[in-house]
Every structure is written in C-alpha cells, then in structure tokens.
C-alpha cells in the first residue's frame, strides 16, 4: 500500500508543541503587559446581574463586540445594571479568561454617555449660580479659631475620614472635643443627609470650627460635594468651615465655599486644632514673663523705697508688709503651677497608662505597671505589694 501524502508535516513529540493553556497564558501575558486600564465607548447588550453580585455583559459597536465583567465590589457602586442598548463609557482592563480562552474586559466603572453630558451641564450651572451669589468670594472667608475647643465633623460614621480626623486631633489636641454629625457621603440620599447635618451644626452649642468631607473615592463618589444644596448649606454654617474631600488631587465646589480647603481629612484636622505641646510652651513663656514682670516691679518699688527712704511714712511701711504677704502667696501659687519644681525637691509622681496621676492605694493593683515621673524623666515601675 502506498502511503498517502500528508498535507503537512505531522509533528513528533520532540518538536515544539504548545499546550492550550500555554497559548492562552502567553496571549494573556501579552495583553496584560501592553494594555492597562482604558476608557471604552460602546453599547451594552446581554447584561446579566448574577445573584453573586457580579455583572456580565457585552459591549459592542458597529464592527465588533467584547465580553465584559464587572465584579461585585464595583457593581454595587454602579447602582442598577444599564438597560440593553444603553450607550456607555466604561473604564476597564483588557485581559484573558484563560479557562475559556476568551478575551474580556474587566470593568470598574460605567457611565452612560447621556449622563456625562448632563453631569457636565449641571456642574456648569451650579458653578455659575454659586459664583453669582458670591459663595466663592474670597471676602467671605473667615479665619479659623486659634484654639478650637470643639470641632464638629460632618462625614460618614463608618468612613476612614472620621478615624483620620479623630487620630490627628487625639495626637495634637487631646483636651479638645469632637462632635460627629453622621451623613451618607455618596449615593442616594447623601445630598439630603449632608444638608441636614450641616444645618444641625448651627444648633450645637460651643462648636468652634466645622470639618465637612470624606476619604478618597472615584470621581462619581465625590459628586455630592459639588451639589448646589450642599454648598449652600455649607455657606450657612455659622462657624468657620474646612472642606476636605478625597485626596490631594480631588477638587470639589465645597472646597471653594468653605473657609479653608484641606487636601485630606487628616490635613483638615491639623488645621482645625492647635498643638498641645506648643500651647504648653506658650503658657510656660507667659508664666516666666508674669513672674519676671512682678519681680522687676518689686525691685522698682524697692529702689523707690531707698530713694525716698526717710520720708517714708509708717503707713507705707505697713502697706509694703501687706504687699509682701500677697507677693509671697502669689509666688507660692506660681510655684505650684509647675509640678516639676516639686519633683526637683526629690518627690516623684506616679502616673497610670492613661497619664492620670495615681494618688491612692486603690489606684495600685499588685502586678500593675505604672510610670514614675521624676525631675528629669520617667521610670517604668511595677507594683510588688500593696498596703
């Protein structure tokens, strides 16, 4: 039997034969290496939102189509799946679905093209009316208080912004007070809640400054801070305001309406409260000047006494005696202001982990650790026995 000619060379195992997965993974590597996230314009079809929360759809134009997926985390933020036929912009990363050998786009954001035009128009309108009404005027800006005792914070109760603000204030100004007025900062209802929260600030007693803002997010997540109603409510807050929306590069209309724009919520907190150590130094300086002022005064009085010596009446001598008594009392008071002076005489001050002074036996449990403050530093100590 004559062998049939083969149309091509049959490979033998020694030849370089690729497996299916080698090809798909090589293609995947090529795609992912050369293409990052891109904006794509197209029409949505066959959109299916699975009970897992993920969305799968096809994006097409007149010539081509591609499969897309949007994972639950992003799909939740996008709201409702777009109806088939909707023209959209999507932000996605091209990739390869290796197990099916399918090319697909992993989408992180969807914006209907119609909404983009409308959004842009709305932004222009809000900007124009706020500008017309003077809400962006530099002349409106009020200075922040130098020593705020109470900071109102309008933000989400469970966002990172609140934690950041509290951490910074706790570090810089632990003697202060923070009052949080919670409001949703994105999605449905956020505008109304922010307006209401800003209105509440004016009903609080003793608030010195108000921070409004949120942590970073996608541009559409920050959109409510461009709302006319929110900007007007912010302008009506009676204490100085700081707007802190997103990251350094994000800019919102509230930034222009507030008395100060802070790059981040942490930066807003830095601006809102002073630094305790600096304030303590200022008080120390004032105490020294106070003491100096009085002692120079008394030496002046002493000089005058010498000059007028013999003409001094008994009444004036008595007067000076009275003064001396008061001066001594005042000096004792001044001395008492500095606990370190007491320590300098050989006393030590035990303090607990929270910095509180431990005064009684019941403040010391056996095995407890505490700090012993002496004139030139702190010693870590432990209770061996009690009573």
């Amino acid at each position: 039997m004559t062998s049939l000619p083969l149309p091509f060379e049959v490979p033998v195992p020694a030849d370089d034969v690729w497996s299916v997965s080698q090809v798909t993974s090589a293609v995947r590597r090529l795609i992912e290496r050369d293409l990052g996230a891109v904006w794509v314009r197209g029409e949505i079809t066959q959109c299916k939102a699975w009970s897992s929360g993920h969305w799968y759809f096809t994006l097409r134009d007149a010539r081509s189509q591609m499969r897309c997926c949007m994972w639950k985390q992003q799909a939740v933020r996008a709201g409702r799946p777009p109806a088939d036929g909707t023209e959209v912009y999507v932000l996605g990363t091209p990739g390869m679905w290796e197990d099916k050998g399918e090319f697909r786009l992993t989408v992180t954001a969807i914006i209907p093209t119609a909404a983009v035009g409308a959004q842009q128009q709305e932004l222009e309108r809000v900007k124009a009316v706020l500008q017309r009404d003077g809400l962006f005027d530099a002349a409106r800006k009020r200075p922040l208080p130098a020593y705020a005792a109470c900071v109102a914070v309008v933000t989400s109760m469970d966002g990172a912004a609140l934690r950041d603000v509290c951490n910074v204030v706790r570090r810089r100004w632990p003697c202060g007070r923070i009052v949080v007025i919670g409001a949703r900062v994105q999605g449905e209802g956020a505008e109304a809640e922010l307006v209401r929260a800003l209105g509440l600030v004016n009903r609080l007693v003793g608030v010195d400054v108000c921070i409004v803002g949120r942590g970073g997010g996608a541009r559409e997540d920050l959109a409510v801070f461009n709302s006319e109603a929110v900007c007007r409510a912010l302008a009506l807050v009676r204490v100085p305001t700081i707007s802190a929306v997103g990251h350094e590069t994000d800019v919102s209309f509230t930034d222009f309406v507030a008395d100060l724009r802070a790059a981040t919520p942490s930066a807003a907190a830095e601006a809102a409260v002073p630094d305790r150590r600096e304030t303590e130094r200022r008080l120390q300086d004032l105490a020294a000047r106070l003491a100096g002022g009085l002692s120079s005064r008394t030496s002046l009085a002493g000089e005058r006494l010498e000059r007028t010596g013999d003409r001094l009446s008994a009444a004036m001598t008595q007067g000076l005696g009275r003064h001396r008594h008061r001066m001594e009392r005042a000096a004792v008071q001044l001395d008492a202001l500095s606990p370190l002076r007491v320590l300098g005489r050989g006393y030590a001050m035990p303090t607990g982990s929270g910095g509180q002074v431990l005064k009684r036996l019941t403040d010391f449990g056996v095995g407890d650790t505490f700090n012993l403050r002496v004139s030139d530093g702190v010693v870590a100590a432990r209770v061996e026995a009690n009573g």
Partner: protein
C-alpha cells in the same frame, strides 16, 4: 449612654490666652503701680492655672449628635 448637649459656660482658651498676654504686657510696662501689679499678677496666675488645667485633660471626647424624632438633639459618646 445619652447626654444632653452641654453648654460651654467658661471663657474660651483663646480669650484666656489673650487676656494673659495683655496682663503680661501691662506688668512689663512702666505705668502700673505695685498694688495694681499684684492684682494683675494674681489674676494672671489664676488664668494660667485654669489654662493648664484645661490642657491637662488627657482623653479626647468624641460624641455623635443625632436629631431625635421630636427634633431634640441626642448626644452619645462615641468610640472612634
């Protein structure tokens, strides 16, 4: 734990410091007699002590405010 919003009756720290600066300036000037100087000094010491006491508070107070159904404000301590 619920609390009514507390009114702040005491002068602000800023006012206190401003008054202290003024006391020190007057005390350092030449036109105060000894009697007045002592009054100023004692006032200054009192204000210094008040300011120090205020700074010495170690624990930041964090509270949340919500508007109740009747429009009343409810203040709660918050653990953040």
């Amino acid at each position: 734990m619920k609390r009514k919003p507390d009114a702040v009756g005491q002068p602000s720290l800023a006012d206190e410091l401003e008054r202290l600066e003024e006391i020190v300036r007057r005390l350092e000037g030449d036109d105060v007699d000894l009697d007045d100087a002592l009054v100023l000094f004692e006032d200054g010491v009192r204000r210094l002590r008040a300011a120090r006491d205020r700074l010495a508070q170690a624990e930041l107070t964090v509270q949340s405010v919500i508007e109740g159904a009747g429009g009343d404000l409810e203040v709660r301590d918050l653990d953040v």
